[in-house]
Amino acid sequence: MTATVTSYRSTVETGRAGFGQVLRAEWTKFRTVRGWLVATAVAVLVMIVLGWLTGAGSHSSYNSGPGTPDIVGHPYVPIGPGGEAVQDRFSFVHRTLDGDGSLTVRVTSLTGAQVHPGPDPSGPGQSRPAPVQPWAKAGLIVKESTQQGSAYAAIVVTGGHGVRMQYNFTGDKAGPTGSVSAGAPRWLRLTRTGDTLTGYASTDGTVWTTVGSVRLAGLPATVQAGLFAASPSQENVTQHLGGGGRVTGGPSRLTAGFDNLDVSGGFAAGDWAGTAVGGDGTAGLDERTGFMQYGDRVSLTGSGDIAPDVTGSGDAMEQTLAGVFGTLTVMVVLGVLFVTGEYRRGMIRTSLAATPRRGGVLAAKAVVIGAVTFVAGLVAAAVTVPLAEHILRTNGNFIYPVSGLAQARVIVGTAALLAVAAVLALAVGTILRRSAGAVATVILLIVLPYILATAGVLPPEPSRWLLRLTPAAGFAIQQSLPAYPQLSRAFTPAFGFYPLAPWAGFAVLCGWAGLALAAAGYLLRRRDV
């Protein structure tokens, strides 16, 4: 009876169908809820405001001596040839070298001492014998000048890390291991050919091993070359629950005994001059301050370090980005609501009826929330960093300089971190289909490990494991200063140092988001809606 009826033919032209259309639909969904746009703006503002707060709440001042007024600012921090902040304070016995040349010396002893402040805080303090600091070092050095931060290369013996070839503060090559004593002295040689410096080590002065060879581009013809000694401050780190860490300790000294000093090449005639590099610049080194010569033998006492400076002098740039947690919270809520909102109202049925390829719907949602969050995060971070840095500097703080590349990585990485966290939130929201539970789960997964690891609740080793395994590993992308192995510093999470490299940590977060998204996709395809 109805067989004669002809089916209706649509008069509406069929549009294109594909992922692009699904993506466009999801974007339309996002942009047409005003509350979500407002929340995104709030997320941006939160980071900026908290960045401002960080700057406003950090003041630095110093005085040049007892009785002098405090000055807003920070003590001078030398900058190395690579643009990084460095420590460059050591005892230097040197002669001018013009052109090529070579130095050879035998190190016969290393003696350590701990300096305790004397009755007069500005006085030299009293030193008591103490074990040699592991990174206390003495040896031969060729340095552009006695200016702090100038280029150098050195072949050194250390308290606990054997012979090293070090150059331009960040460079460090390991040589033969073993410590120095009267019974086991160590021969060192440093030669300069053009701008290439080569370090050698030997146990007997006849058989030499090459430790390393470096090119110091732009090294002037006339340089200072000679002996040096330095010993970094001792650091004992104690951690308080919920209150970060405390560093105790104090300056240390190293006295190195040398003999058989021999130079060749373009050395200027004259005596060896002693300079306390990084000292107040007025006094040279003499017998009272640690430079003694008895015929062939030389004894040199030094304090300080020639190394990169990454803690203690100022703020790392990522500290301006503490507001990322506020932004994260808002974007996690949005990421969750972007899908649970549909479940709550049954709109998910409309969505999946319109696009039966459910994986495509989830992917489109992930792209939209990820992209929105990335852009918001990028804007927020790009505004916050310069703004907060400006306030910090105005308040006298030193901010560790980092390369443009590292700066870009921190800012873009922060945006990427937020984007991946939002995608994780979307995935968890799809899995749980409940807003409150999903929001709490994601925030706990990301923020709680971070707090436990960095607020000094947990000891360093468990903290490191938390930052290797949990989504909080992703914050490694914000670490702007590397943890140099040639520093005996507490490179713990409590001080902002992550156990994983920036991109590796970020990859861990991505792994979590990827797994959650895969699980969400599987469940979304399998479940009835």
Binding site: V5, T6, S7, V12, Q21, V22, R349, V529
Partner: protein, 314 residues
């Protein structure tokens, strides 16, 4: 594409509850097919399975000969209204249609056209959260029409509509069917379908109880019952029973006979000279026919009033 829905042998259980128990029916173009049954009979589940939202344990549901999830532009083939409340309250009605349109590669022009078609153009830019139930139903119908599909599937579209809205939607559905579309409309109230549906699929407890045209259903429910008013009850009963009718006493002076047409009864009674004052053949309403069919299929039924009182007295 043929404008058809073919549902074959759908079975689905939720835990120990059987939701669909061999559901089988077809929807043809050019007519409005009513999909009726009591609450919990499996109407919504069937519709969700047709849309590939739920998966059936067994059986198949094809739209124009294809499973829904294979359709590239599903809204060009099937328009569905499942739950008119499924909206984000902060999004305007127009924007709700806009994202849906974008998902099918359609633009704003089509959105404005369907808004006009359902008479919602004026309110389109307001927050959907502020819409009345009737406006939401109109918006849901607009969404179903977005792809101008040959198949339409509406779940309880009469819910919450005022009388004017009900009249509008009946006419609208008939007009859509007249264009050659297949229209499936579910309802748990037969009366709502009375003037719009020409074909009925009656379901109960997850299976089809009747799949027939409206006329046939009414005829079947009416049966061939004939009421005879007579003062000579016993004689009439004897005469009719002898000729093969089943006779019951309905009242002091009426009996009901079934199994014989009315004309034959008149003849028999005249032949035997049994007096009677009225003979009427019974015609059931659609509602009665439906009640008859679904009596055993009702899942939730109010307890008889007496029982209620007893309960309350406790």
């Amino acid at each position: 594409m043929e404008a058809t829905i073919d549902v074959t042998g759908l079975r689905k259980r939720f835990g120990s509850t059987v939701a669909l128990d061999g559901m089988t029916f077809s929807v043809r173009p050019g007519q409005v097919t009513g999909f009726v049954g009591p609450n919990g009979a499996g109407k919504s589940t069937t519709m969700r399975v047709i849309l590939s939202l739920d998966s059936a344990d067994e059986g198949s549901a094809l739209v124009g000969g294809q499973p829904y999830h294979r359709l590239r532009h599903p809204l060009h083939h099937v328009g569905a209204l499942l739950d008119a409340g499924a909206l984000h309250p902060a999004r305007s009605g127009r924007n709700h249609l806009l994202w849906l349109a974008h998902s099918q590669g359609l633009g704003t022009r089509r959105v404005d056209a369907v808004l006009e078609q359902v008479g919602l153009a004026k309110a389109a830019r307001r927050r959907a959260g502020g819409y009345s139930l009737g406006m939401r139903q109109r918006l849901g119908i607009a969404a179903a029409l977005l792809g101008d599909p040959p198949v339409l599937m509406l779940d309880e579209p009469f819910n919450g509509l005022d009388p004017e809205g009900i009249v509008w939607i009946r006419g609208f559905l008939r007009a859509l069917a007249a264009e050659g579309r297949a229209v499936l409309v579910s309802s748990h109230l037969m009366s709502e379908l009375q003037d719009s549906a020409s074909h009925l699929v009656v379901v109960g407890r997850g299976r089809v109880v009747a799949d027939t045209s409206v006329q046939a259903l009414i005829a079947a429910a009416s049966g061939d019952r004939v009421t005879v008013r007579t003062t000579a009850r016993t004689e009439a009963m004897t005469v009719l029973a002898r000729s093969g009718a089943t006779v019951t006493v309905t009242d002091r002076d009426t009996i009901t006979a079934s199994g014989l047409p009315a004309g034959r009864i008149v003849g028999l009674l005249n032949e035997a000279a049994v007096p009677f004052s009225e003979i009427s053949s019974h015609r059931a309403t659609l509602e009665e026919a439906y009640m008859e069919l679904t009596r055993d299929a009702v899942e939730y039924r109010a307890a008889p009033l007496a029982a209620n009182r007893e309960e309350a007295a406790r």
